[in-house]
Amino acid sequence: MDSRRVLALVKKNMKKLVRDPGTLFLLVLFPVVLTTVFGFAFGGIGESGPQSFEIGLVNLDDSSVHPEWADGFMANLSEKDDIILVIYDDNETGQADLLQGGIDALIVIPNDFGDSCQSYWSSPFDGSSWTNTSIGLYLDSGSLIATIAVPSIVQQVFLSTLFGNAQISLEVPVDLTKPQFISANAFSQWDYMVPGMFAFSAIFITVIVAQSMTVERSEGLLRRMSTTPLTSSDYMLSQSISYMVVAILQVAMIFLTSYLIGYRPATGIAGIGFALMILAVFSLSCVGLGLIAATFSNSADGATGLAFMIAMPQMFLGTFMPLGGIADTIASMMPSKYVTDALTTLFLRGAAIVTPSIWIDLALVITASIAVVFAGILVFERWGRGK
């Protein structure tokens, strides 16, 4: 492995990216144009959101001497038309489900909830004798208007539990914790699409790799370079690094474009760093697929067509297209789906960088990408290079 040779080829590929209009359009301008058009087209759709919420509940007060308060609170929540209540045995399971997007919110009834309510009614006007406590409330910031509606619904239900149907507003010993994961923004369809845009754009790398490899082969460049000390591994490494750089550039361009038209991801620098990392790894699978397309193509046009056919399932079954049924099952075999899942968890739900599910997604993308790029290299070296 010779780093100077690899670097020379990476520089050559970057010059192609900038100077070749077809490559520049497909890898840089097209994602920017697509992001802009989709941003304006879908930015206003879906802000009304769904009308009911799935709310998880953990009752830590079930062994209390006053369990009737927690039971009453749960019963009142169940009666609300806009709430589907999901009961969890423990906090961890509920939190995990919330992070995976299984529920819109999680309520944790504290273990002194009954005592607190009882203490109020024992001395309603003596605040100093109350047992103060807090109901835990965790919200999925990606769950449309849940972030806005759920806190007030829970507050209402609690007051009706404590006071019955009388609508009063007095000081009480139980309050709601400041909701976590909350976001002030209402979400549009566009917010759901952005995480998928990153993988969607990176998939075009497959087309460019297939095109450029076919051209370099048919123009005799691969043969000419193979009469120099350049090794096959140097060449393939340079291709992989080049398109990793392209993927990182795409992330930056899409992020900047979507930011300029109003997109605000619910993540910080660490989340964006994670996005760069997972997309760079994902680009390897695109290089691998591009090599496979180049192997079985005789011309640049043929390579473009074949590369699109190979890339199409990933474009539409694993990015921003709504899925269901069999399509969902097929998508689970596409690395792009795991890229989009991880970015949705970070950008939409605002999950922390330590959330296990995103690292599982990354591990799956790494495994799939390494397998595909090695398969691509083997197939190209065996049948494609000397074609």
Binding site: D2, R4, R5, L7, A8, L9, K12, K15, K16, R19, D20, E219, G220, L221, R223, R224, M225, S226, T227, T228, P229, L230
Partner: protein, 259 residues
């Protein structure tokens, strides 16, 4: 005759290129048939023959692009199959199809190949300036290659092959599509390489080029070597005017059929 240390060393190293029963078959078709040749250090060897005679196949075997079906060949003492990596370090190939990156400038194309041969930046820049001037490309070297004429591309392709100062240069029709002035500048450059003890295999359809440049020529037809010797010796042997007549006499083909 004056003997120098360099000459003695070259003799000790043996031939620059040796071919022993070199054969290449593609299915039932024999492209090169038992070629036996020794080419010395500092020799310009003209490899002539009509189209499909096996010239480019021979060059491709010597440049490690093709493995021989039978026989063997060494370049600078390295076997082209067993020590292909060593061979690649000492050769410079200017292919028949002038492969280049159209979106790079002439300089960038040459630079890239220099870097593939691990040339230090300073030396690389010096060599580019020197060689560009030698083939008359100094004014156009920074233009995008996609804007070059056929002759300019050929000249840049020649520099790409020689940028690392190889001991053995394989020039496959290097002057095709060049105007007479450009061709003359490349000829001068090739002669200069001989004076530096470089070994050159030159395939060409231009007999006056072969006659002007080659120390020896080999005419191959249907994969077999049918004539070998210095141009003037062959002209004298067949009592003809020039090498073109030798070619026609031996191959039975007009040159234009071969071009």
């Amino acid at each position: 005759m004056q003997f120098t240390i360099e000459q003695t060393l070259k003799e000790a190293k043996g031939s620059a290129i040796e071919m022993k029963n070199l054969t290449k078959r593609f299915g039932n078709f024999t492209a090169v048939d038992g070629l036996r040749l020794d080419i010395g250090w500092g020799e310009i060897f003209g490899l002539l023959g009509p189209n499909g005679a096996g010239k480019t196949t021979t060059v491709n075997m010597l440049s490690t692009l093709l493995d021989p079906t039978e026989g063997e060949a060494t370049v600078a003492g390295h076997d082209v199959v067993k020590n292909a990596n060593e061979v690649r370090k000492v050769i410079g190939l200017c292919p028949q199809q002038p492969a280049y990156f159209p979106y790079l400038t002439g300089r960038e194309n040459i630079e890239l190949f220099g870097q593939l041969f691990s040339l230090p930046s300073k030396l690389l820049n010096e060599r580019i300036e020197l060689l560009a001037k030698r083939v008359g490309m100094e004014d156009d070297i920074d233009r995008r290659a996609s804007h070059y004429s056929g002759g300019m591309i050929r000249r840049v392709s020649t520099i790409m092959a020689l940028i690392h100062n190889p001991s053995v240069a394989l020039l496959d029709e290097p002057t095709v599509a060049m105007d007479p002035v450009s061709r003359r500048s490349v000829w001068d450059f090739i002669k200069e390489l001989r004076s530096q003890d470089k070994t050159i295999i030159l395939t060409t359809h231009y007999m006056e080029e072969a006659q002007e440049l080659s120390d020896r020529v080999g005419i191959i037809d249907e994969g077999r070597l049918i004539e070998l010797g210095p141009p003037q010796e062959l002209i004298d042997k067949y009592e003809v005017e020039d090498l073109e007549e030798v070619f026609v006499l031996r191959t039975g083909k007009r040159l234009r059929e071969g071009v």
